[in-house]
């Protein structure tokens, strides 16, 4: 519930507790073939209502961080906290958006949007009304009884967002939420996402491969090292521009400098990020 962050703040004598906290987390995967250290001594703090983007080389453990925060996996050692509570399993605090919209084709848009509430047995006349209002607000009102196959990629991703927000999470985890979209749609949806995140006062942790996107959307960009992953550097983003929207923020004079700094960090390992050179040209 949205009071979660405040409750945590009351618990913490020092004032505002962090919305997300990883403390010296090790994550080691075991398979028949090998033992893989995905995260080593990873620590990370995200303040309430902060929008943090994470970039890093392929396979450095970005998705692992999100899975830990969502409570889908348990750390090998170290602790993971969300809204001041130690994570022991999936909780109502967290909403998770994946790269694919994962809409179920046998459910209508409204049916998809209600999925989380159904799982949590929280479907009531009021909660349905709230979800339908959200669908309306995000331009999906007239499609609520349509099946996902009739919607465009951008609309599908917005429907997935409504599905995530329907359970009223405090913390939103985004794992390359836009990378399946074409460039045009991607810019549009990032505008929507940004507006909605800010309006709802959510704490966001977003993984992306796109440095420009990270800078354009977030308050802070974290760069991860190669596997086993840990935070290599943190870049607070302060952009002077008129329109505080992802597209507007791209015009800020400081944008280029941030881009180059982060790009240098990423390639310092002697390990280029697959999609970055193409973005550097734009």
């Amino acid at each position: 519930m949205s009071g979660g962050a405040n409750v945590a703040g009351v618990d913490d004598p020092g004032g505002r507790a962090s919305a997300i906290g990883l403390d010296r987390v090790w994550m080691i995967y075991h398979t028949r073939e090998a033992e893989t250290a995905a995260l080593a001594q990873m620590s990370l703090e995200v303040a309430p209502q902060e929008f943090v983007a994470v970039v890093g080389p392929s396979g450095c453990g970005k998705s692992t961080v999100l899975s830990l925060v969502a409570g889908l996996i348990k750390p090998t050692s170290g602790s993971v906290e969300v809204c001041g509570e130690t994570v022991t399993g999936p909780s109502g605090h967290v909403g998770y958006m994946l790269q694919q919209d994962c809409l179920y084709e046998w459910r209508t848009i409204l049916g998809n949007a209600l999925l989380g509430l159904e799982v949590q047995r929280a479907v009531t006349r009021e909660s349905v009304a709230v979800v339908r209002r959200m669908l309306n607000a995000y331009g999906l009102g007239e499609f609520e009884n349509h099946y996902p196959c009739h919607l465009s990629g951008g609309m599908r991703q917005r429907a997935a967002l409504v599905r995530t927000l329907a359970t009223r999470p405090d913390v939103l985890l985004l794992d390359e939420p836009l990378s399946a979209l074409d460039y045009q749609t991607r810019l549009e949806v990032s505008e929507d996402l940004y507006r909605i995140m800010r309006a709802e006062g959510l704490t966001v942790l977003m993984v992306t491969h796109d440095i420009s996107e990270a800078i354009a959307m977030s308050d802070r960009v974290l760069v991860m090292s190669r596997r086993p992953g840990r935070i290599k550097s943190s870049h607070k983003i302060n952009l002077t521009c008129e329109r505080q929207t992802p597209i507007g923020r791209r015009e800020a004079p400081e944008f280029r400098a941030y881009f180059n700094a982060i790009w240098k960090e990423l390639t310092a390992d002697g390990h280029a990020v697959g999609s970055a050179p193409a973005i550097a040209r734009t």
């Binding site: 969502a70 889908l72 399993g89 999936p90 909780s91 109502g92 967290v94 909403g95 998770y96 994946l98 790269q99 694919q100 994962c102 179920y104 084709e105 046998w106 999925l115 989380g116 159904e118 799982v119 949590q120 099946y147 996902p148 196959c149 009739h150 359970t167």
Partner: protein, 272 residues
């Protein structure tokens, strides 16, 4: 305006395209009908002229007459009903048991690991070889025939549906887990609904398989059904009875198959 003069020209071309499609479809249907007619006529003529021995291969007019007289006496419906009923029960129950077994295997990885070799062996046994066992256990009854029809379809269903369950997109399952879903909710909200196409595909396969099981069962034990008519006709050298039963059997199996296809289309219409 240019666009106004362009449009009708395009639509004329499209009309021409559509009518060429329609012509083609007509050619196909006519050719199909002609092949069937030619076969029936040739068979009839060859039997009448004595090119082939009508006693051994029968002839369309006699097979038809046999079917009509059976229909008049009311026997035909009994035999048809028996075969259709046994087959329908066979593939429905076989599919259901198969789905339940697949759910159990999906539920427990350990169980599926343990049972894996047994399923492989069960799958490779020619199920009709089990016929005599069912007769000993269940007697020369309709139950034994239905058991045959079920046995022949159940293992294939288990394998098809279990593979379908395992191929459900892991991200869709992950999504549900982020909401805190229990295993039962994962089963009911994503694994089963996502596997509906696979289950219908299994049902489609099972229509044919259960028919084989039913006919073999009727060969072995029954006193009624198309399989019985075929065996009986063979024993008394009434080839017209055999031929008319075989023809009816093919019609019935095609109708059953189309029935399941119609079900499939109805389900898929909501899915895009």
């Amino acid at each position: 305006m240019a666009t106004q003069s362009d449009r009708p020209r395009q639509s004329r071309e499209h009309e021409a395209f559509l009518s060429s499609l329609a012509r083609r479809r007509m050619v196909v249907s006519v050719a199909r009908a002609l092949i069937l007619a030619a076969f029936v006529v040739l068979w009839e003529v060859a039997a009448r002229r004595g090119w082939i021995n009508a006693f051994v291969v029968s002839q369309p007019s006699r097979a038809f007459a046999t079917a009509v007289s059976m229909a008049r006496r009311g026997e035909l419906w009994l035999h048809l009903g028996m075969t259709v009923g046994e087959t329908a029960i066979g593939f429905t129950v076989g599919t259901l048991i198969g789905i339940v077994a697949a759910v159990l295997l999906w539920w427990s990885d350990l169980l599926s690991d343990i049972l894996d070799p047994y399923i492989v062996v069960l799958n490779s046994i020619p199920k009709v070889a089990l016929g005599p066992i069912f007769i000993v256990w269940l007697g020369t009854t309709v139950t034994a025939i239905i058991a045959m029809a079920i046995a022949i379809s159940v293992v294939v269903t288990i394998m098809m549906v279990y593979v379908g369950f395992r191929q459900v997109d892991p991200d869709r399952v992950k999504l549900l887990r982020t909401f805190g879903a229990t295993r039962l909710q994962i089963l009911s909200k994503v694994v089963l609904p996502a596997s509906v196409p696979v289950m219908i595909a299994a049902l489609k396969v099972n229509v044919g398989l259960s028919m084989v099981g039913t006919i073999v069962g009727e060969f072995l034990v029954s006193k009624a059904g198309l399989g019985f008519l075929i065996v009986y006709g063979g024993q008394v050298f009434n080839m017209s009875l055999v031929m008319s039963s075989v023809i009816l059997l093919s019609i019935v199996s095609v109708l059953l198959y189309y029935g399941v296809s119609a079900l499939e289309r109805a389900v898929m219409r909501t899915r895009g």
